[in-house]
Amino acid sequence: MEILFFSLFNGILYGLLLFMLSAGLTLIFGMMGVLNFAHASFFMLGAYFAYQISQFIGFWPALVIAPLVVGVAGALVERYGLRQVHKYGHVAELLFTFGIAFVIEELVQMVWGKAPVPYEIPQSMKFTALTWQGMNYSAYRVFMVLISVGIFAALYLFLKRTRVGLIIQAALSYPDVVGSLGHNVPRIFMLVFGFGTALAGIAGVLGGNVLGTEPAMALQLGTIVFVVIVVGGLGSLGGALIASIFIGLLTNMAVSFDIPFRGFFEALGVSPEAMGTGKDLIDMTSSGISPILPYLLLVLMLIFRPRGLFGQRDV
């Protein structure tokens, strides 16, 4: 039972991190039609900036400053890069973001090296916040959950209650109409891009010290974030939230409960001894396939429901 609660907690935590990353990505896609391959690179920048800034003035200022710097960098990339490429169509945009992802990775390696940097959880957060059902929940992880939920609530209120939020929602369905009503759509694109990358930056600051801050982190999480937005439905924030949490729970549960597949095959009447080369497959457990579960989900989703859970249009 305690394992269930513990992995529920960790699954939700991981899911919330994924959501913070995918929220910006899905908004950018919904509005601009741009699949931003570099999105997770901004997540990585958030982690590295936080590491660097916390060397000088500590974690708490870094939590604020690093996402701001990342957001400004994102806005500049949109304003002076993507906007120029836009007239050549979506393929050019896609290739452009691909290039940006490589440039950021190389820059990070040049400045901080190929090895992971020792970005650590702040000392003040290294204690057990609560003990429940015999399991200890660290203060920092509880804090991560609180911040993520807070950001989700703020984002929701911003989109539903403010005029700029309404314009963004409207531009998700018909950017051209929003423009012909007199709203500066390119500026809104820039703001959403900056805001989305800043959210990725926050995820980097919060997640970098738990997941590890290294040049490969962008690619690792980047692909899963694409699974999230395809499963949730391109352009749908609610879908991204549900898909993030679901993938978080799925991968965590698969590891915690480590279900062996042997019994399943035996129930099917397949005897492991009779199998030659397939024996290894039968002896696997669910934790072994945990890393590929999101991609399995992606494939199934694309086959059976290409528009995702809440998408307005097909992928």
């Binding site: 051209d176 109409v177 423009g179 012909s180 007199g182």
Partner: protein, 231 residues
Amino acid sequence: MLRVENLHAYYGKSHILQGVSLFIGEGEIVSLLGRNGVGRSTTITAIMGQVAHTGSIVFRGEDIGGLEAHQIAQRGIGYVPENRNIFPTLTTRQNLLLGEKKPGQTGRWSMADLFELFPLLRERADFPGGVLSGGEQQLLAICRTLMGDPDLIMIDEPTEGLAPQLVEQVGRLLQEIADRGVSILLVEQKLTIALKISKRVYVMGHGKIVWDGTPQELRADPQIRREWLEV
């Protein structure tokens, strides 16, 4: 007020507009008629800056040809697209609010005003735009553009697919718009409303203006109607 000269536009290799020239005076209602696919919609999307084009588009003495849609809207041109494009997740009220170029903008039209004219919209004020009927969406689309207080409004096929009763309501709205001194460029396929309210008429065929004159002249010329308008 608006003078378009020698407008050309392409979709890929097909030459959609082949030198369109037209003129709209202050407070004038002008219709652009023609069959489907002759370039009427492209003409107004080009004026709105949403289609790449060559030629000159002068609005109140300023060449607006190179501007972006939002800049053109800010100068006082409103555009109601053919497929209405009501924001489906936003309520009727929110759709109207987005028509304002600045929050709390005042001008010829207010929300209370428009609700007064169309109680139908007031009843639907807090419904998401996506659940409104085609006719309600059409009224809402026009009213949304009016909230930005344009001096010239370009409306693409407002009566397409509407029930007769709603066609009449749209006609009433167009008349009200004209009465408040707003110029109208109406794109239509059917002649009913267009001939009733327009002061002048342009007929388009194969990417060019093939005829222009008054509604009376068009009524009196079955030859033109047969060749360019009747289906």
